[in-house]
């Protein structure tokens, strides 16, 4: 950024903005809108040639020609922002897309990549180059097919934010290579067919995982939060499905909605409780409307010191959870009265 601004002219302030600043503004816009600024005045005629962004919807057979023409007219190779939207509908993948896209990511030194793609052929991957870039800081990926990448494919040393929106049926462990391949990752956010929402935040001091699952048919909701210090990183255990290794962490589980026979939520709940049996802190809230289960096999919580129970009524099958914690020191128990939405009925520890 250069600055030679002297004095305080009250009018035409934008003329004091350098081309760099103007290009930075335009880099947030779709490329066609950046091109449209050439009509503003003579000064603006060629500004778009230097905008460090490539931002196109590519949902027509002619789209690629537009992108090619755009690339050929530009006077800079720098592309900080790259957004390509191949649309909601499957569209035949052009054979040379991998090639030019790799070139753009490499030569343009792309930092922010936003890519959405829907393809019929589930065996194909998005261009590999986007998983091995040293420059990408933000990666936003929307794909409709199963996204399982071998571990050697993902190497994103600069990535801090990773959003994956996956309509396909990728299991969570399918994403673990993204996690291992991105050591600088601060926010990892996943949406899939199975998990409504998964957010992992890794700050300098703490780590927080937020998982939400919803089933549309029974309107049941399952929410899991795990928090720990940075040096007790539990995320690898999460991806390897070995949550039984997690001890020094706070776990918050909430279930709500109408839960009918053999609901997936209930199954998941019992599974997660079993997996998380070694934690020291557990907050468990059960607000489901229906509960026609016999007492499920509750695991023994060997290390549990603190337990918070929020139950809809005392008939809840999780009422006996406290009896499964031999080391329990701090117990808080609340029964929710269904006439109230809050925690009005507070029972003392027993």
């Amino acid at each position: 950024m250069t600055n030679e601004r002297i004095g305080y002219a009250e009018e035409d302030r934008i003329s004091e903005l350098t081309d760099d600043v103007v290009c930075h503004i335009l880099s947030f816009l779709p490329s066609e809108e950046a091109i449209a600024t050439s009509l503003l005045s003579t000064r603006w005629r060629f500004v778009w040639h230097m905008v460090p962004a490539l931002d196109f919807d590519c949902m027509k057979p002619t789209s690629q020609e537009r992108v090619n023409k755009f690339l050929s007219l530009r006077t800079t190779q720098r592309i900080t922002r790259l957004r390509l939207n191949y649309g909601k509908y499957s569209y035949p993948w052009l054979p040379d897309t991998d090639k030019w896209l790799s070139a753009v990511i490499k030569k343009g030194k792309v930092e922010h990549l936003n890519f959405s793609l829907c393809r019929a052929d589930a065996n194909d991957l998005p261009p590999w180059s986007m998983f091995t870039s040293t420059t990408i800081v933000t990666l936003n990926l929307k794909v409709s097919f199963a996204l399982v990448l071998p571990s050697f494919v993902v190497h994103l040393p600069s990535v801090k934010t990773l959003h994956i929106h996956n309509h396909g049926c990728t299991s969570l462990s399918g994403f673990k290579n993204f996690f291992y391949g991105s050591p600088a990752l601060e926010l990892f956010s996943i949406k899939t067919a199975h998990v409504t929402e998964l957010n992992i935040v890794r700050k300098t001091r703490h780590i927080r995982l937020f998982e939400r699952r919803e089933t549309r048919i029974s309107h049941a909701m399952f929410k899991l939060v795990i928090e720990s210090d940075r040096h007790n990183d539990f995320i690898p255990h999460y991806f390897e499905d070995h949550l039984e290794n997690v001890v020094k962490a706070k776990v918050y589980i909430t279930v709500a909605g109408c839960d009918f026979l053999c609901s997936r939520v209930m199954t998941r709940l019992l599974y997660d409780l079993k997996q998380l049996r070694n934690v020291e802190f557990l907050s468990f809230a059960d607000f489901r409307l229906l509960d026609i289960y016999a007492t499920p096999p509750l695991p023994k919580f060997q290390n549990l010191v603190q337990l918070r129970l929020y139950l809809k009524d005392s008939h809840s099958v999780f009422f006996k959870l406290s009896a499964r914690c031999p080391k329990l020191k701090d117990f808080e128990f609340v029964i929710m009265d269904d006439r109230y939405s809050g925690f009005e009925l507070l029972l003392p520890c027993y």
Partner: protein, 184 residues
């Protein structure tokens, strides 16, 4: 600290105390820098925030003595009105306890309180100061304002005089037709 007299201190306690002492020292050391705006108002700014300003860094590289002395670092192209806003933004974003939602709400409010002129003034100041985060936030916000707007709106927003002849304008519309640009 009363516990210091006790001889039966356990190891973890000691380290905790040391940590505490270290914290105290760093708090004392949290120095301030004197900044002077173009309208000759001086500000005492936490060094941790002032050092985020590229212009301040650059100034201190050239004359390192300024950080210790009482001389103010001059910011020739930033008025006090803008510096107050910039400091408000950075103090909020530097605040350890600020959650993502707090920051989002803050950003929205911050933007709502600015009219177009103030927004552009602030962008010029942010550009001069070389403050990356605020610069990105402002440029992105301006992009959102001009998004999907017609040519006239963008000209007015930026204060641009159209110096094209009608023939030229028609020719350039034609020239860029390949991009599928929606010209209004």
């Amino acid at each position: 600290m009363a516990e210091e007299t006790e001889s039966t201190k356990t190891e973890p306690l000691k380290t905790a105390e040391e940590e505490f002492k270290k914290l105290e020292i760093t708090e004392e050391e949290e120095s301030e820098l004197k900044l002077e705006t173009s309208d000759h108002v001086t500000f005492m700014v936490e060094a941790s925030i002032a050092m985020k300003f590229g212009a301040v860094q650059q100034y201190l590289e050239v004359s390192p003595a300024a950080s210790a002395s009482a001389t103010a670092i001059p910011l020739h192209n930033v008025a006090s009105r803008e510096l107050i806003l910039i400091l408000e933004y950075y103090r909020m974003h530097d605040w350890v306890d600020a959650g993502e939602r707090d920051l989002k709400e803050f950003d929205e409010r911050f933007l709502k309180d600015l009219n177009y002129e103030e927004l552009k003034e602030l962008l010029l100041a942010a550009n001069y100061l070389n403050v990356e985060k605020l610069f990105n936030f402002l440029t992105k916000s301006i992009a959102n304002i001009i998004r999907n707007k017609d040519v006239e709106f963008v000209r007015t927003f930026f204060g641009i005089d159209n110096d094209y002849t009608p023939e030229e304008e028609a020719a350039y519309r034609e020239e860029n037709a390949w991009a599928g640009v929606k010209f209004v």
